[in-house]
């Protein structure tokens, strides 16, 4: 008897059960496309974070970033994969689009993985361009001289060389 009354009292509570509102439907994965006119690096891939150098400053894009359009500046793009590894590319120019559905299109006019850049050739041409009066290269030249002679550490040197470009 007591049990039945208890059940009757309990039932209305069950019918009007309350719960928290559902989280807004935010895409948890970004669909990342990174390409140059001649090569595709990422096509609708799922990555954790992308750092891009733009005309208005460098910023990192994560899934559910606010939609924006930006124009790239020469610098290093760093892509952090879901498994924690990162890949760096040097881009000359281009554009980046972040849409409302968290898809990111990074289109570079020229892009090359950092480990394909030869530091000796780089310093040589930087020196030549600086001699022709291009002041932008003198800063690179200082970097070259600092890292300069120890060319056995090619890969790390290249990224150290180019990192300052993204952090103006």
């Amino acid at each position: 008897m007591m049990a039945a009354r208890f059940l009757r009292c309990a039932l209305p509570v069950l019918r009007h059960a309350r719960s928290y509102a559902e989280a807004a439907s935010v895409p948890t994965q970004m669909s990342f496309t990174f390409a140059s006119p001649t090569q595709v690096f990422f096509k609708e891939a799922s990555v954790r974070q992308v750092d891009v150098p733009t005309l208005t400053g460098a910023f990192g894009i994560l899934p559910a970033h606010v939609p924006t359009l930006q124009v790239l500046r020469p610098g290093v793009v760093t892509i952090f994969n879901d498994d924690g590894s990162s890949a760096k590319y040097f881009v000359s120019s281009g554009s980046v689009t972040v849409n409302t559905d968290s898809s990111v299109q990074l289109l570079a006019e020229e892009a090359v993985p950092l480990d394909q850049l030869d530091i000796t050739l780089f310093c040589k041409s930087a020196r030549k361009t600086a001699e022709l009066g291009d002041t932008g290269c003198t800063r690179l030249l200082h970097q070259c001289k600092k890292i300069g002679e120890d060319l056995s550490q090619q890969q790390t040197s290249m990224s150290i060389l180019l990192e300052p470009l993204s952090v103006f």
Binding site: A35, S36, P37, T38, Q70, V71, N99, Q105, L106, E109
Partner: protein, 284 residues
């Protein structure tokens, strides 16, 4: 073997048939070699088309996702970029694009809008200048000899932007490559920086100043033109390959028929000579 001497009949003489056979065999050799060249160029173009398609799709993604449309009421200025090439013998490539441009011009002018055309490729100029000469703004030559590069696309876009024609929207009309034997004439939209800025869905996009948007739009224009150039070049090479293949097949059919005719004629001549000899001997 003796050739028929001087006798003009309704059917061709052996000498005529021999000449014709020789010239058609030469033509077949030429079309076969053109087909080989087109096949190798097509293979290269198709390989380079894959990354270009991803790149172009990325450039168009903004227009699709933000659903940008130009305002309908204004007397908008339109621009049409028609992409083909300089060389013929590729089937209906050039005429398809010209037909699409002509119908587009007819639609726009009947709606009272102003439209100007940029011809990429000499063939298109030849097809359009007589009837729609007053709409042509720019002509590009030396297209199709080498595979198109990003620099070519940026050259075209720079000329358009420096021409002083303040267009609001437009389209690029080109042949999209579908397969070795098929392509389709399609168009992709082009918008000016102002149209994009004033589009309603653009407020979703954060932190955009006019300078950045103008840069972005110019870059997007180059990307779309680049995609059109690549697709068009691949379609053209595949179309040239199939049309030269058809030409070679037709030539072999004609060669077979002519060879049969030649043999029949030769046997007829021999039979005639024999008859003359025999009837002459019988007369004795």
């Amino acid at each position: 073997m003796g050739l028929a001497s001087g006798q003009v009949r309704n059917m061709a003489t052996l000498k005529d048939i021999t000449l014709r056979l020789k010239s058609i065999k030469n033509i077949q050799k030429i079309t076969k070699s053109m087909k080989m060249v087109a096949a190798s160029k097509y293979a290269r173009a198709e390989k380079q088309l894959k990354p270009a398609r991803v790149y172009g799709a990325g450039a168009l993604a903004l227009y699709e996702k933000a659903d940008i449309k130009a305002p309908e009421d204004k007397t908008a200025k339109h621009v049409i970029i028609g992409v083909t090439s300089d060389r013929g013998l590729c089937g209906a490539i050039h005429s398809n694009v010209a037909k699409a441009i002509k119908s587009e011009i007819a639609n726009l002018t009947s709606a009272g809008k102003e439209v100007m055309v940029i011809n990429v490729g000499d063939k298109l100029r030849g097809l359009l200048y007589r009837t729609h000469g007053e709409h042509i703004m720019l002509n590009c030559k030396e297209v199709g000899r080498k595979p198109p590069s990003f620099g070519d696309a940026s050259l075209i876009a720079t000329e358009l932007l420096n021409s002083g024609y303040e267009f609001d929207q437009g389209s690029v009309i080109f042949n999209r490559f579908r397969s070795v034997i098929s392509y389709r004439t399609e168009h992709k939209p082009v918008f000016s920086a102002d149209t994009v800025a004033n589009s309603e869905n653009m407020t979703v996009y954060d932190d955009i100043d006019a300078d950045v948007l103008r840069n972005y739009q110019e870059f997007a224009l180059v990307n779309i033109v680049y995609l059109a150039l690549r697709e068009s070049s691949t379609s053209e090479q595949s179309a040239r390959m199939t049309s030269m293949d058809n030409a070679s097949k037709n030539a072999s059919e004609i060669i077979d028929k002519l060879t049969l005719t030649f043999n029949r004629t030769r046997q007829a001549v021999i039979t005639k000579e024999l008859i003359e000899i025999i009837s002459g001997a019988a007369a004795l």
